[in-house]
Symmetry: C2
Subunit: 412 residues, 2 copies
């Protein structure tokens, strides 16, 4: 039950020159379901990524990181990304690394490149051996299926408990050139990315120099995938990859240029849309909540407060119930770890309703007004800390019976 | 649906000489329900407490802290504690402080003492004005009801979403003297105390010098109420109070004495029992989980890992479902914030079943064994970090549909 998130229309997803996508049904966990995706890049492409900060990061994350480092050293470009669902290949030790490497070796053989030119990704159940022979057996049909106009199917192929595919496109005029961007993502549970989310891919046809792309991927993720939470749990497999195919005439080589800023804006906007799609389709989500924390001393403390609200089970269940039990918001602000917070200065708004004034209940606050806002499917909570000029925004969803049902049933 | 937590038997709760308890139905939130408790102390009593670290700490918490400080300065002993349920008197600003002070003034008048000799406590809904006139009107009948043998009713009088009263007694031989201890607590939701829990009271008839009691209350709470979590949310009203009436001949004035150690052991054991009763009766709890983290570099990092497991919604829903989806435990260990953790050394046991060996699935692990343990109502998860000699234990419960139901309905 995704919140106000229309399913993408395949014909509105723009092909990005220089990248082809092919999927297959490899039967990794379940039969008759797309669970394998190959993304093939032209040799001009640059690729940059950010990955989970979870110490138990999955084998494919370790291999992808190593291959990106190797690409930077050898100048051999990344040729393809390969993504499977149904198994996370995490907590699988040495055998998991062997399986991820086998995946790369086999795809490299089929594509006539080096294994180090392949980036592997996995999503699904943790602590179970990856059935790599089934994955490998599916590769030829994924390759056969490669085409530029395949983004919708690609978005479907990376779903797990997602109820709908997540994809979006846009074009942006950068100087004299029109750049096309398309991205896909998946999420649903175990979502509070620390470096990126599980999984996001954005491709564009601009040519972007590797060091510039490395800067951009961090700037983009810090304002998009790193601003969402569904359950406060950080996956072992989070990865966000930014791909610039270089197939268009647009060439960006300077992070201080106006063209960079224009392109950054477009990528950030697309990434935010994809990140919000993940929240709107969060496991069991019935409401989409924006938590804005303003006038903090620094961004870090604003994020602390925003996440303390976004991850509180008591706040999330109150939103689920449309119950303006707003004292729970104060509880979450107070426990966020700002030890010198003067709560007597704190103000809190629910959309346009001023609920807390100078740390206490606003005398003009009427419960009927809080009730009206709580019944909406999209709600903005705004906290004014009144101690500085920094701010941060986090997007999250509510906590429903359906979340418990999904996570008590998932895997079983 | 409390987990393996038999309801206390009134006749097994031992009166503690020097303290009397009286309750009333003040109709603070609901009619026909005990919601007011007065605990009256003899003048020889010493009292020490720890309180929530939530910055939005409730008005009664602020007043109780101030009155304890004042007692230390003036040597006027604490005469009584007064506790109401149905309203937390938190997020209520100046009006809330006035209400808490009014409560103290009125009780002091009725008891012929100073207002600063009264400690007020509240629990219930946050951000709503305390109906102090109803509370005050109930005080005379609470005083009329005062008697030593009233612990069971007292435990009932402080319940909110608790499904059963929490109380326990014991005696301990300290040197030549037998000391009697009785305690009560309440919890159910918004439970991850940072300094104490909402609410715990332990009384004993030993005479304990104030500085000694101040040390003891911290040592006890750090091994009991500060080791539990139901939902990771820290209440605005947490308070744990330790009362030594001084009515027995046992006199403790030295923290380095053998008698202190003996008494500390008994108080700690009673506090752990009361803390575990809170978890067993956690909102919607169907399982009682002990999370032990061993061989860490220091206690702090062991607690970080233990709480990361105990607070993960994905771990808690898997336990609810009796599903050995144990990769989620690795996820929680990995995201706990130990940035230099070598996961290749980590071992994990579920009761006696060795699940994770050197960071990966134990080759000898059989799902049927994990399944067997997961079906139990009490489960010990043991994590071996293999990087030091510190350890920590946290007690928690699972996350069920009932939790969502309770917290979507509570207040409404």
């Amino acid at each position: 039950m995704a919140v106000n998130s229309p399913i993408p229309v395949p014909s509105q997803l723009l092909p990005v020159s220089g990248i082809m996508l092919g999927h297959a049904e490899a039967g990794i966990r379940k039969a008759d379901r797309k669970d394998l995706l190959v993304m093939k890049l032209v040799p001009t492409a640059t690729v940059s990524g950010v990955f989970t900060s979870n110490r138990f990061c999955a084998a494919p994350v370790q291999v992808s990181k190593a291959h990106l480092e190797s690409a930077a050293l050898t100048s051999l470009p990344i040729s393809a990304l390969v993504i499977n669902t149904g198994n996370a290949n995490a907590g699988t030790g040495l055998a998991g690394l062997v399986a991820a490497n086998t995946t790369c070796n086999e795809l490299a053989r089929l594509m006539n490149c080096e294994a180090s030119q392949i980036l592997p990704f996995s999503t699904g159940v943790i602590l179970e051996p990856l059935p790599v022979e089934r994955l490998v057996a599916g590769l030829p049909s994924a390759i056969q299926n490669l085409q530029e106009d395949n983004w919708f199917s690609a978005a479907e192929a990376i779903m797990t408990t997602d109820t709908q595919p997540k994809a979006a496109s846009r074009t942006v005029q950068v100087g004299a050139h029109l750049v096309t961007l398309t991205g896909i993502s998946k999420g649903a549970g175990m979502i509070m990315p620390n470096m990126a989310t599980m999984l996001g891919f954005i491709a564009m046809d601009a040519k972007v120099a590797q060091p510039v792309l490395d800067v951009m991927v961090k700037q983009v993720s810090d304002r998009s995938f790193n601003c969402i939470s569904i359950d406060g749990d950080t996956s072992t497999n989070d990865s966000f990859m930014l791909i610039a195919t270089g197939a268009s005439a647009c060439d960006i080589s300077d992070v201080d240029s106006a063209d960079y800023a224009t392109l950054l804006g477009a990528v950030q906007s697309l990434a935010q849309q994809l990140a919000q799609m993940i929240v709107r389709d969060g496991e069991g989500a019935t409401k989409f909540m924006t938590v804005k924390v303003e006038q903090g001393r620094n961004v870090e403390e604003c994020r602390q407060v925003a996440y303390s609200i976004a991850n509180s089970p008591l706040v999330k269940t109150a939103f689920f119930a449309s119950d303006p039990n707003l004292g729970r918001l104060l509880m979450a602000i107070g426990k966020a770890g700002i030890t010198d917070l003067d709560v007597g200065n704190v103000n809190l708004y629910l959309d346009d309703v001023w609920v807390v004034k100078h740390g206490g209940r606003n005398p003009d606050y009427q419960e009927v007004d809080g009730q009206r806002v709580m019944q909406q499917s999209e709600i903005v909570t705004r906290v004014i800390l009144a101690r500085g000029e920094a701010s941060a925004t986090v997007w999250t969803c509510d906590f429903s019976h359906e979340y418990v049902t999904i996570n008590a049933d998932y895997r079983s």
